[in-house]
Amino acid sequence: MPTTPSSQNPSESPETQGAEDTMTEEKVPFHKRKAAKVDRLAELMGDRSDGGHGAGIWREAFARMRRSPMAITGAIIVAVFLLVALFSPLIAPYSPTSQAWGSEVFPNRNEFVGPRAENWLGLDHLGRDMFSRMVIGARQTLMVGVVATLVGFLFGALLGGVAGACSVLGGRWGRQVDNAIMRVIDMMLALPALLLAVTVAALIGPSLTTVMIAVGVAQIPIFARLLRGAMISQGNREYVLAAQAMGVRNHKIALTHILPNSMGPVIVQSTLTLATAIIDAAALSYLGLGNPNANFPEWGTMLSEAQRFLSSAPSLAVYPALGIIITALGFTLLGESLREALDPKLRK
């Protein structure tokens, strides 16, 4: 019976764990290797939490991030995006759906209106104010990203948490439950994420909800893997043994002792997933699985709508595309620098 890399780890001492990990990484099948990479992050962060230098792991990481230009750039981008998204109704000068200037734009004659004093980013193909659509679109895009990430996070954490808790505390029976859950997770991991999202989206029909669910579902296996790995590496620690010796009930150990100490890698991944979710949502919109109501301003939908006019009015596509790219870049920079700040191996 093949075992997954991290299910072997509970028996290993922390010293041999690193070496064992690189070795297993080369022997295990591919989807497990993808998994092993995720698990490594989980373990690295787990190992840090008992540093005992007084300052907490998070505090240390934030101190490191304050000096990193990557992290600062990411944080600024994300902050601006969040501010625009949250206060968009106050910022947007016009209604995003009103075709107030409809008589000035003729897509079939290639007549578009570029930036001008009253419309900062010009008009779209139906004579709607592009700036207002971008600003309101930021809010929708944020919602898509957040909901998709939440779907992946909640279901992934639920599956991974149950698997991890069962494996650590459930004895032989628990390890079987863990094994069964991980089989399902590995199956999901064996599919390319975009294909998984397309499958789910085609299953429930095109809508914005579809996009959020589909993109979220594709992230479930990653979150599940991460949390399970972190929980298993926490499971060997003395405080768990102490709690068990004191007669604390298993579910309480899992929920109040192990889980809070295992959330680090999951939080890092959430930041990165926000970026992926926004990009994947745009791809699903482009495939026609997104919101069928194109009135609704959302960057992915706007981008796929604007492709038709790319040769005559490229700015219609460039604005939402830039919005997506810059926002995704912001979340990626933030997530990557957070991961680097927390990874002792990359710290030099």
């Binding site: 093949p2 070795m23 990484e25 080369e26 022997k27 099948p29 591919f30 989807h31 290797r33 993808k34 089989r183 399902v184 590995d186 199956m187 064996a190 599919l191 390319p192 994420a193 975009l194 294909l195 397309v198 499958t199 085609a202 299953l203 029909g205 970026a275 990009i279 745009a282 791809a283 482009y286 495939l287 026609g288 699985l289 981008l303 796929s304 492709q307 790319l310 040769s311 490229p314 596509a317 595309a321 997506i324 790219i325 995704a328 870049l329 990626t332 920079l333 990557e336 191996k345």
Partner: protein, 334 residues
């Protein structure tokens, strides 16, 4: 080695089995059931009932699933609602085009990404390093279909350097042997066909390469940096080995192992990424057909193609695992 391969092949069964259940449930859940997809909208209730019976849809779900599974195993994935031809035939008709595209993308990604990542690691902190890291972050964050559109508008429509659609220019004659245009052209020495096909592959290949290129660059850089800090590299340098020897035999050889794995994972996902690229360039491969199938709600094609793409993804990664064990003596010794 043989046992390893057999065991890995056996591990495919639960994965594909689970996927078949997923696809079966999907077909069951279609609005109104499959008979609505097959019959015209104005069909009577009796016609629907008859079709249900003839398709075995009045049987218990378990029986239906087993029948579905039996058809799949026999290679019967149903017929396309658009063309009326078997799904399997449609797949293999389009496979060579996508394969050529994927190989082009991978070649671009590896030939640029490996040296770039290596140089970025060697000159850490320089402008080159900064550009490589920034560029690869940008590559990951750019929606592939947008990049494809930009490439098409700029290089095909505005500058006219490359053709903007299809596999070959209209009117060019070629001898078909294998379905692989470039390969056939080389075999029959029709160099004009080869040139034309390569020109058609350039832009979609570049668009499809964007994500693998970014990932390979970043992975190579990280991996080389890690290996350069290893004790054995310092030892090799200290005992006076030639710099080139240390770089190739010690650093590169060890640094490339994780990159090989990444290449495998990426190669599998290229077939999924092709959906986005091919549709932009009207490239007649698997991806554009899936795109049309999503628009037309051609469910047999969607389920069949997803099953086949997933199978290929898994098989490609099996090949990577095998090649990996050939590359790394530590795995071989086991």
């Amino acid at each position: 080695m043989l046992r390893f391969i057999v065991r890995r092949l056996l591990q495919l069964i639960p994965t594909l089995g689970g996927l078949s259940i997923l696809l079966f449930v999907w077909l069951q859940r279609l609005p109104g059931g499959p008979e609505y997809a097959l019959l015209p909208d104005d069909a009577t209730a009796e016609q629907r009932a008859m079709l249900r019976r003839s398709l075995g849809l009045d049987e218990p779900v378990m029986v239906q699933y087993l029948a579905f599974l039996r058809r799949i195993v026999q290679g019967d994935l149903g017929t396309s609602l658009q063309t009326g031809r078997p799904v399997l035939d449609e797949f293999f008709l389009r496979f060579p085009a996508t394969f050529e595209l994927a190989v082009t993308a991978m070649l671009i990604a590896v030939t640029i990404g490996l040296p770039l990542g290596y140089l970025a690691a060697r000159r850490r902190g320089t402008a080159l390093d900064f550009a490589a890291v920034g560029g690869s972050l940008l590559g990951i964050c750019t929606p592939v279909f947008f990049l494809a559109f930009i490439l098409k508008v700029v290089f095909a429509e505005r500058l006219g350097l490359f053709p903007s659609a299809f596999r070959l220019s209209p009117g060019i004659s070629r001898t078909d042997i294998t379905g692989f245009v470039v390969l056939d052209g080389m075999m029959t020495r029709e160099w004009d066909v080869v040139w034309d096909a390569v020109a058609h592959l350039a832009l979609p290949g570049l668009a499809l390469a964007s994500i693998p290129l970014a990932v390979i660059t970043r992975m190579t850089r990280a991996s080389v940096l890690e290996v350069m800090g290893e004790d054995y590299v310092r030892t090799a340098n200290a005992k006076g080995l030639h710099r080139g020897t240390v770089r190739t035999r010690h650093v590169l050889r060890n640094a490339l192992l994780p990159v090989v794995t990444a290449v495998g994972l990426l190669a599998g996902s290229l077939f999924a990424g092709a959906v986005l690229t091919e549709s932009v360039f009207a490239f007649p491969g698997i991806g554009s057909f899936v795109y049309i199938a999503t628009q037309e709600r051609d469910y047999p094609v969607l389920t069949g193609f997803i099953l086949l793409i997933a199978t290929m993804y898994v098989l490609i990664n099996l090949l990577v695992d095998i090649s990996y064990s050939l590359l790394d003596p530590r795995v071989r010794a086991q």
